[in-house]
């Protein structure tokens, strides 16, 4: 019976902790714009995370893009150039100008949420 009691306790903690993670633990004050949502969709259907990371989640073929549009090294112009033309390692995905703008809007949103890190 002790084992049953331990497992029920652990499962209860897990359920409570998960609920907290889904709500207060991950609240974010910055809202995603409609354009950024479009960008996120493009990011996903093109499987960008296979080569790039956001907050360390993703592949290592390309650089982490969490701060790509919000730092001097990258910036929106640089990102747009890469999206429209590809690079030495990155294939040309033939994005339209509107699609590139949407992905930039998404990456800018991600970069803005990282403000606690850059501070």
């Amino acid at each position: 019976m002790k084992k049953i009691a331990v497992i029920i306790s652990l499962l209860s903690f897990y359920a409570g902790y998960s609920s907290w993670v889904y709500t207060y633990g991950t609240s974010c004050s910055i809202a995603m714009t409609e354009e950024a949502k479009q960008g996120k969709l493009l990011w996903q259907i093109n499987n960008c995370q296979s080569c790039h990371q956001l907050y360390g989640l993703g592949g290592y073929m390309g650089p982490d893009l969490t701060l790509v549009t919000t730092t001097k090294r990258g910036g929106e112009k640089y990102t747009r150039g890469m999206l429209l033309n590809g690079g030495a390692r990155m294939p040309n995905f033939h994005f339209t100008g509107g699609e590139a703008d949407a992905i930039i809007a998404y990456l800018s949103y991600v970069g803005n949420t990282a403000i606690t890190i850059t501070k």
């Binding site: 049953i4 998960s18 889904y22 991950t26 609240s27 990011w43 995370q49 080569c51 360390g56 040309n92």
Partner: protein, 439 residues
Amino acid sequence: MRQHSIAYRFILLGFACLLLSVSFGLTASLQYLFPHFLNEQFSFRNTRPIHVFLAVSWIFACVIGIIYKYIPDVAGRALYSGKLARVHFALQTLTIFIAVSGFCMGYFSGREYLEFPPWVSSLIIVYWLLFAINFLMTIRPKLASAPVYIWSWCTGLLFFFITIIEAHLWLLPYFNDNIIRDLTVQWKANGSMVGAWNMLIYGTAMYAMEQITGDKKMGHQKISFAFYFLGLTNLMFNWGHHTYIVPANPIVKQVAYIISMTELVLLANILWQWKISYKKSGNTSYPLAYRFFKVADTWILLNLILAIAISVPYINQYTHGTQITVAHAMGATIGINTMLLLASVTFIFEEQLHDAAKKSIGIGLTVMHYSLLIFWVSLLGAGITRAIALYEGNYFAQVSRKIMPYLVGFSASGVVLVVGICLIAFSFIKTISEKQLED
């Protein structure tokens, strides 16, 4: 033999996935070294998900096959429904085919490790339900008196369902439209899903060890349950060490750090068990299976040290998002998961293996172990170099050049690793196929 036919089909399916996975893994590693290789036709965004998906398929197909083999023996009754198991097999094979075809044609969901379109997951859930019905109706577990491996299998099953549903919460705008929530929940689901398959694998390993040693008390000992509950706690709460850099509530990081450090207890236990097992070695009627277990022990030790190190926030700050994370993942999936699965498969077939096959598997194991060591160290070297280069403010192209020698070592040892895997896989495929034909 005939009553286990479905189990053997799953194991064969697992080996087919393993061989395909390492083939795509080699292609992906070539694309790392030569970025223009197939870059426009079949780029890294195709090869990586195929490699990862097939590696996970190897683990699941093989562990399911082993469990199908063990449960009639454990329960002392025939499998509840052979027909249900055959439908399960057909559905799982079809799902693997659909997902891989989709990756080849460029259909992605863009989610880490679960990159197939979300509707494919509904097929996965259906065949896992069929498996769960067959498992529960055959075992009919009475948990209060059940051995630890039955607890482990039940936990693995339960958490597979929980985590695959959790991994699809992003389909709801509440999760999808908040990057902090989306990433945190994604890590949470993925981390715990790995814990779920570990539970299934460790269950099979514990059952095989009990049979090999003949110690029937092992599965009922308090210490076994203490480590099971420690493992379960880590499954539930340990995932957060992947999210130290995500600006979620700091409590997530604190919980993860505290739980991660409980792994020190596991580490101490492994070191203690090692000391004992060395004294006992050579005293078994399954010497080849025992060798796999001992190699897996080495990898558990190495990976645990690495896991504890990268769970320390100060270290994690530099190592997260580098090849050190890949070393941890590869060390765990190849060094621990694959070695334990091969140990169980060897235990099942050791008495039926010809001498030539035993020799081939023995050589394969040695080749696998040492090439994996070089592979793992190369990844650590690449990760440390990358972390230092990024800290020094190098551009990505400069970082890539600096880590190149390590990636050459990684790819070269990867080729040797594939040779070792092939030696083992083909020996088992031949043996299992011959047995199937005889029946």
